[in-house]
């Protein structure tokens, strides 16, 4: 057993209202730069629909993910190492920019500059790829949002094409739901396997899959390798970029931006422990429908003392183990079994899972004259849902309908159970038992899915648990400390290669020296540390150390003189004005002797 920890996410699709807030905030944070205009680390697609990039799920065309050879060996579907290297000069499996969409901006200038007139000025679109004006915008990241253009594009959904039943997409009987997608941070990532340079890697500590920008050489194989098409090519820098699971936030215990800003509060983040030794075997499970149970078999029970001991031996910090025990993700995936992986048949063992959507069923039953919240009616109705179970099964379990049905029945049971309580009816334990739960479990699941506060939805141990000192030293630079900025810094220290070279002394070292100087000096404290810098932590608010304020005018000599006068002023008359323990609030200019 080789225990590893993975930060994972579960999204509750029942709560997604398709507002795209996650996508927008993610874009603001990560991809609002030239070269990645077309890139959405997080996107929300309407299902049925083509997705983004178009028809990315069609692996007969894009050949992402893994395949089993006839001898049962796991190789990237696009071909092994030699095959990848042979197609390195032109990768026929790379999507074109038009498979995503051609990003554009608007000529806002033409509105601002429009002369007065009777007509409203307009801002024509301009391509960010060719720089030319576009006549028509014909596609974008979610052009088929809310089934837009659906009858026309019906045949373009690879899943619709695969399922047997006749799906009606006429207006009255249409169904849809939203699928927010980020990188899956797979346990068996095929993007990592496809990278010739070895620039993509899975982090040992938290399982986040990242691109080393200094090692990426732009061979573009990862874009092909990822079956979810969640690795993107920055066309300006010529490097691959992907969702980072907001690792700088995760490392200090904050949820990802997409989770934090999610209006429906549908995202859960937590730690899962898994056995890395079992991963290759699970990914090589022969039958695609068995991949979901096989992946469940990879996860370890953090409550098991043996697992805890092994985790400790593997160097997993104790608070990560505690977090794994409190993990909402573990509960939804393993304990309640309501969350399902997205496209397990790609054999990457994805780690962003989904609670399938149930919502429309209640209205559908109520509309047909039955009690939509009654659990017998609900269970029976699951098979005639507007969102066909077969469609969900193609998304989440490689076509095996049983796990989807079980998940939906559990959600339905939770609903009926809570309804009885709300109406003041007695608790009916048979409801919980009919889905293999106890009443308490059903209540717990309800609490997690409906009520959970951020601290329950996001159980994120920090990266620095065992290394607090490093965290203290990490944010060395002040954001105001740039050349000419309020911090007057710009790397004021002079290193061996001139200004701003070398590394600044750690703050703790400065603080140590500052404190010692203060406690041993004869005169009033001098908080001044290096030339022109003041550690405000040590400043007693009485003296006016050198460098606290910028020189006012003229040469350095003049400034020195002014400072000298100033010092005298403070030590003399002004000192009397301020009582003991009071802080002088007058701005420095006023204190200058006239």
């Amino acid at each position: 057993m080789r225990v590893m920890a993975q930060i994972a996410m579960v999204m509750n699709l029942d709560k997604c209202i398709g507002c795209h807030t996650c996508s927008v905030t993610c874009k603001q944070l990560w991809t609002s730069r030239p070269g990645v205009e077309y890139v959405w680390f997080n996107n929300v697609e309407t299902r049925p629909g083509q997705g983004y990039p178009r028809r990315y799920e069609d692996q007969e065309r894009w050949r992402g993910g893994w395949k089993l050879t006839r001898r049962g060996r796991l190789v990237p579907k696009a071909g092994g190492r030699a095959r990848r290297l042979a197609s390195i000069f032109a990768n026929p499996l790379l999507p074109n920019i038009r498979d995503y969409y051609e990003p554009w901006t608007y000529d806002y200038e033409s509105v601002a500059q429009a002369p007065p007139g009777d007509d409203f000025p307009v801002a024509p679109p301009r391509s960010l790829i060719s720089g030319e004006r576009m006549d028509n915008i014909t596609w974008s990241g979610n052009w088929d949002d809310n089934l837009g253009g659906m009858p026309q594009h019906e045949s373009d959904d690879p899943i619709l094409a695969r399922i047997q039943e006749k799906i009606r997409l006429e207006f009255e009987q249409a169904f849809m739901f939203y699928l927010p997608r980020i990188c899956e941070h797979c346990l068996n990532p095929s993007c990592v396997a496809s990278c010739p340079s070895g620039a993509l890697y899975k982090r040992v500590e938290d399982g986040i899959v990242l691109v080393d920008q200094d090692r990426c050489r732009g061979w573009r194989m990862c874009v092909t390798g990822c079956p979810y098409k969640k690795v993107y090519f920055n066309h300006r820098t010529g490097k691959a970029e992907k969702c980072t699971f907001c690792f700088p936030r995760i490392e200090i215990g904050l949820p990802t931006v997409c989770s934090e800003t999610c209006v429906g509060r549908l995202r859960n983040i937590g730690v899962l422990l898994y056995d890395a030794d079992r991963v290759p075997k699970a990914a090589a499970t022969p039958r695609e429908q068995d991949l979901y149970p096989a992946q469940l078999g990879v996860f370890l029970d953090p409550h098991d003392p043996r697992v805890a001991a092994e985790a400790e031996r593997a160097g997993i910090p104790h608070d990560w183990l505690i977090a794994a025990r409190r993990s909402p993700v573990y509960d939804l995936i393993v304990t309640y079994g309501v969350a399902l992986p997205l496209h397990p048949e790609f054999r990457t063992l994805p780690m962003v899972w989904y609670v399938p959507p149930l919502s429309p069923v209640v209205e559908a039953i109520t509309a047909s004259g039955h009690d939509g919240e009654d659990h017998d009616n609900l269970f029976a109705a699951i098979d005639v849902l507007r969102i066909p179970v077969s469609y969900l099964a193609e998304l989440f379990t490689a076509g095996d309908e049983e796990p989807v049905r079980r998940s939906l029945r559990r959600l339905a049971a939770m609903r009926t159970h809570r309804r009885r309580l709300n109406l003041g009816d007695p608790v009916d334990p048979s409801i919980a038992e009919s889905v293999g739960f106890t009443v308490d479990q059903l209540e717990d699941m309800y609490r997690l899915l409906a009520l959970a506060k951020p601290e329950d939805r996001y159980v994120i141990p920090t990266a620095v648990a065992g290394d607090v000192r490093a965290l203290e030293e990490a944010p060395l630079g002040c954001s105001l400390d740039y050349e000419g900025g309020p911090g007057m810094g710009g790397g004021a220290g002079s290193g061996p290669f001139g200004e701003a070279s070398g590394r600044p002394a750690p703050i703790a070292v400065e603080t140590f020296h500052g404190l010692r100087e203060r406690s041993t000096a004869d005169s009033a404290s001098r908080a001044s540390l290096r030339h022109g810098q003041v550690n405000l932590l040590n400043w007693d608010a009485r003296s006016d150390p050198e460098g606290l304020f910028p020189p006012r005018e003229g040469t350095k000599a003049e400034a020195e003189g002014a400072r000298e006068e100033q010092r005298r002023g403070v030590d003399g008359s002004d000192r009397l004005a301020a009582g003991p323990g009071e802080i002088q609030l007058r701005p420095p200019d006023e204190r200058r002797p006239q």
């Binding site: 990237p76 990848r84 290297l85 390195i88 000069f89 032109a90 026929p92 790379l94 999507p95 074109n96 920019i97 790829i129 060719s130 720089g131 030319e132 068996n188 990532p189 990592v192 396997a193 990278c195 010739p196 340079s197 070895g198 993509l200 890697y201 899975k202 982090r203 040992v204 500590e205 200094d214 990426c216 050489r217 732009g218 061979w219 573009r220 090519f233 066309h235 820098t237 010529g238 490097k239 700088p248 490392e251 200090i252 990266a463 620095v464 290394d467 490093a470 965290l471 990490a474 944010p475 060395l476 790397g491 290193g495 001139g498 200004e499 701003a500 070279s501 070398g502 590394r503 600044p504």
Partner: protein
Amino acid sequence: MPSLIDVFLWGALPYMCVALLVTGLVWRYRYDRFGWTTRSSELYEKRVLRLASPMFHFGLLAVLAGHILGLFVPMSWTQAVGLSEAAYSWMAMTFGLVAGVLTLGGIALLVWRRRTTGPVFLATTVNDKIMYLFLLAPLCLGFVTTFMNASTLHYNYRTSVSPWARSLFVFQPDIELMARTPLEYRVHAVAGLLLFAVVPFTRLVHAYAAPVHYLFRPYIVYRARDPRFVGTAGPHRGWQRGDI
């Protein structure tokens, strides 16, 4: 007695170019690892690239192999294995012409694509344009040389250019030998040497990132977090070493 210019071209320039190549690569690796990329434009346009890029690259690899064979394998060796001068020459010409046609055809298509495809042209920098000059010059000159040799001259460069090239490695360049070769060989050699010199400072540097180690590594790469980079702020600023 070789003239001063001959001494410079055949005794000094090769070492200067190689020195530039090596120091340039080291410099680029230390200070611009982020810029060390193919800067592929495949995302913009694929149809032409799919044909032209493999043509050019595989052609170029063949050209490279031919040069290594012609310059660094002494004539006595090939004759020792029973390959007569005429047979060798015929083989080299055929091979060289095919490789040359592939390479030149490929790069012609690529340049045409770069000029005519809007987004690709937009992404072309001044550095790229200069690079094309340095790249095209030795390619065209080399092709002309091969072609002339094949049609009329039948000049045996393996008794002049090749020994000179090998003499460079023992730091005793045989300047006389090279100075007496036909003009087209000399111009081609200078252009080729200059190409070596500019490689580290252009996008051609991606040739030195050829991912051969991919063949030998496990598929999944695990890496531990760098302890220097906990949290968002790195400890470095301003002048920084390339390895962080």
